[in-house]
């Protein structure tokens, strides 16, 4: 991974999207989100229109960060799975490859056991995609041809005109 940036290209984005779609269908979930640990939404699938996805991403990251802090206080590395049970909807949050957060929202059509099972499979697929993201980032770093490297002072100034 390039220090300072996390770069997601179309190819890997589409691969992530198809993993999320499969997870959504296999776990009978309402919606599935993938978020980076800093709270940026990477991809989502399902009934996303009914959720404020930006806020959800930021709070899920805050949630994982806070429980990670709790874990280290009791000598654990992290709590890699969180489950929140509501009256209608439930939320399963898990850490993927120590840097991404997978959020599954589901109702009574599914169960926590089924979600957990399907998430485990999705974790492996996402881990593989992350490896190819890292490789692409390494290549790009050597070539130095990303959008960020091409930014000029004038581009940055143009935001404030």
């Amino acid at each position: 991974m390039t220090p300072g940036h996390f770069i997601l290209h179309e190819k890997e984005y589409n691969e992530i999207q198809s993993v999320l779609k499969k997870l959504l269908a296999d776990s009978y979930a309402k919606v599935v989100f993938l978020v980076d640990k800093n709270g940026s939404l990477m991809a989502s699938s399902g009934e996303t229109a009914s959720f404020d996805t930006t806020s959800l991403a930021s709070l899920a990251a805050g949630n994982i960060a806070a429980t990670g802090g709790l874990a280290s206080l009791i000598g654990e590395k992290e709590f890699s799975i969180l489950f929140h049970e509501g009256e209608r909807d439930n939320m399963h949050i898990s850490v993927v490859d120590n840097r991404l957060i997978l959020v599954v929202i589901f109702d009574r059509r599914s169960s926590v056991g089924l979600v957990r099972l399907r998430v485990r499979r999705a974790d492996e697929d996402l881990g593989r995609i992350l490896k190819s993201i890292d490789e692409a980032a390494r290549r790009e770093e050597e070539e130095g041809e990303g959008v960020i490297e091409e930014l000029t002072e004038a581009d940055i100034e143009s935001l404030f005109k």
Binding site: T2, I7, N38, M42, G62, L159
Partner: protein
């Protein structure tokens, strides 16, 4: 750590407002929320106590337009300023791309400003950042009240890197957007150079 998504053509960056308790970090975000076009900003989330003190963080996503066909989005966070919330402050600094240090200009708060600035340096080092290199802007808030230190005094006391500094009255918006624009410029310039 910025997140660049080529599929949705977005650049996402994280900016953290840091400073002692009651210096006006949340007020900065509230003013930005109030004054920005609703199409350019999302909802503001405040995880606060019943007495409206920040418990974990405030969060406000803002969009600043496009650069080379990429939408630029900035996630603005505040930390809880009260000394005993240090564990939470450390967590919020993770993945930060730029910091606004919001100082309270009142003479009686100089010790609190210094303590918070030292705490920022310690926590940045703990998160693997170099406090001498991270994009940083200083804001001297509460310029409208009596008994404030001069800008020269605040500069001598707090501006250890001679970074851009702004006088502000966050309650009425003075200096709020100037501060935001300045940190955004620094963050984007730093990204271009290769970040952390």
């Amino acid at each position: 750590m910025s997140f660049i998504n080529y599929s949705s053509r977005e650049i996402n960056c994280k900016i953290v407002y840091y400073g002692p308790g009651l210096c006006g970090k949340t007020t900065n975000l509230q003013y930005i929320f109030k004054r920005m076009n609703p199409e350019s900003r999302g909802k503001m989330i405040s995880l606060a106590t019943e007495t409206d003190r920040t418990l974990f963080f405030d969060f406000l996503p803002v969009s600043m337009g496009e650069i080379r066909g990429f939408k630029t989005r900035f996630h603005l966070y505040t930390v809880p300023g009260q000394v005993f919330y240090d564990a939470s402050r450390r967590l919020i600094l993770r993945g930060v791309d730029g910091v606004v240090f919001c100082a309270d200009s009142q003479l009686t708060r100089m010790d609190a400003n210094l303590e918070s600035l030292d705490n920022l340096k310690i926590n940045m080092r703990e998160q693997g950042y170099d406090p001498d290199r991270i994009p940083l802007i200083l804001q001297y808030n509460k310029r409208d009240i009596n008994g404030v230190a001069s800008v020269a005094e605040l500069h001598a006391l707090l501006n250890y890197r001679n970074v851009p500094e702004f006088e502000a009255v966050a309650t009425t918006g003075v200096g709020v957007f100037e501060t935001l624009k300045a940190i955004i410029k620094l963050v984007l310039t730093d990204l271009k150079k290769g970040g952390k």
